[in-house]
């Protein structure tokens, strides 16, 4: 039966540095396995679409431009991604990877959250084609 069990702790805390992380001012180093932004390596991709099938939030799309020459563009919708690592697990060719460095991904606009991965000329090709109306409707607009 005591009163004020916390007394010792309180006095100690008064002379201790606060435990609060002052986040935007100092950043703690991230663990190696942190699941951040998805990266895609078009060189290794075989276009098997396993990652697309298993993605629980439909955050990735793979556009095949030329299957023969292995020209693919991955459209990554970061705003839908749940960083569950399933696509990385499903990929048999190790062309997907979640970055442990890029994790401050918030944005006020939707545009920066849609990322096109692929060889530069393929992305260019896709974007030019998309610019024509009606080619691909944006999923969040009717």
């Amino acid at each position: 039966m005591t009163i004020g069990t916390f007394f010792g702790e309180l006095v100690k805390s008064l002379f201790k540095r606060p435990a609060t992380e002052r986040y935007p001012y100092d950043r703690k180093p991230t663990p190696e396995r942190l699941r951040g932004k998805l990266h895609y390596d078009p060189e290794k991709c075989s276009g098997c679409q396993m990652c697309i099938r298993d993605c629980p939030s439909q955050a990735i799309e793979l556009v095949t431009i030329d299957k023969e020459n292995k020209r693919f563009v991955m459209i990554y919708h970061m705003n839908r991604c749940t960083f569950c690592d399933q696509c990385v697990q499903s990929c048999r060719f190790n062309c997907l990877d979640l970055s442990s460095e890029e994790w401050e991904l918030a944005s006020l606009q939707e545009e920066p959250l849609t990322i096109y991965y692929g060889r530069d000329e393929d992305v260019q090709f896709l974007l030019e084609n998309q610019a024509e109306p009606g080619t691909e409707a944006h999923p969040c607009e009717e």
Binding site: S13, P18, T20
Partner: protein
């Protein structure tokens, strides 16, 4: 006292602006101390001011079913009461602006006015959280008021005066009364916490039960005024306790040091306990607080007769 001087007293020092500024500063120190006790960073120095400015800029919503005059008037009366009380205490270690025989009692009543206004404003609305909060506020008022009064009577008896200025002078010239009347000091300190509804006596505004108690329906200006009133009361209460129990207040430096010391202890007490239920609060005050204060008074009287 000339008219200009009177205005100055009321509006700038020690009445109006000075007191509001000190109140906000002390609120900040209190919050910061509690945060540090809890191993947190706590707010920055202007946070209480920013809160008040923000609240003043917000729309004040007057809910349906309330008596409008009361709803608007009560925060003003409460704050005014607290501000008036400042005129009779040695704020900043300077002699009180006004003084007469028995001003201790008047000060205590002015301080209670604030709590009364709080209770009435809660009872004024139809919100059930407010009503429960108001009931609890008034219940608590009736429980801590008597022991608090008794605890402040101890120094008054010792000094043979009901005038705060004179008790202050007596305290400066004698042994600190925290040494001679430790129980009185403790009861007064805890009584002040009850008055300000600080944890663990925050049942009247326990947010996890009744949202914000009596103040649930208040927004904007009314809420800002009530909060300012509490800040002012905090300063006055600390001044009173330091003046009476900690060897009086002779100069500003002493004022600062002593009140901050009391605040340090008070912040510690705030973070040390779980919230008491209202029945536990009442039981604590009447069963222990009042009894202890009475014993203290008895001891003083006997001491005076014998010496």
């Amino acid at each position: 006292m000339s008219a200009a001087q009177a205005w100055l007293t009321l509006l700038v020092f020690p009445g109006g602006f000075f007191l509001l500024a000190t109140g906000l500063l002390y609120e900040f120190i209190d919050r910061k101390l509690v945060a540090r006790y809890q191993n947190r960073v706590g707010p920055r120095w202007f946070q209480p001011l920013a809160d008040v400015v923000k609240l003043l800029a917000k729309e004040e919503i007057i809910p349906t079913g309330v008596e409008k005059t009361l709803f608007i008037g009560l925060p003003i009366v409460g704050l005014a009461g607290a501000l008036t009380a400042a005129l009779y205490v040695p704020i900043a270690g300077l002699p009180p602006a006004f003084s007469f025989r028995g001003d201790l009692i008047v000060t205590l009543y002015l301080l209670s006015l604030m709590t009364l206004c709080l209770g009435l404003s809660g009872a004024n609305t139809v919100n059930r959280f407010s009503i429960i909060g108001a009931t609890r506020t008034l219940t608590q008022l009736f429980s801590y008021e008597a022991p608090f009064l008794l605890a402040l009577l101890g120094p008054a008896l010792s000094a043979d005066s009901w005038q705060i200025g004179q008790i202050n002078d007596y305290a400066i010239n004698n042994l600190w009364m925290i040494v001679t009347q430790p129980i009185g000091f403790l009861v007064a300190l805890v009584g002040l916490m009850g008055k300000l509804e600080l944890p663990p006596f925050d049942a009247p505004e326990a947010e996890t039960e009744i949202v914000s108690g009596a103040l649930t329906e208040y927004s904007g200006r009314g809420l800002a005024l009530f909060r300012l009133g509490k800040d002012v009361e905090l300063v006055i209460g600390l001044t009173l306790i330091s003046a009476l129990y900690l060897g009086g207040l002779a100069n500003p430096l002493e004022f600062l040091l002593k009140t901050l010391c009391v605040l340090l202890v008070m912040a510690g007490l705030q973070s040390l306990f779980a919230r008491l239920r209202i029945d536990q609060t009442v039981g604590l005050w009447w069963r222990i607080g009042a009894l202890l204060a009475l014993l203290q008074l008895l001891a003083i009287t006997i001491g005076k007769v014998l010496l």
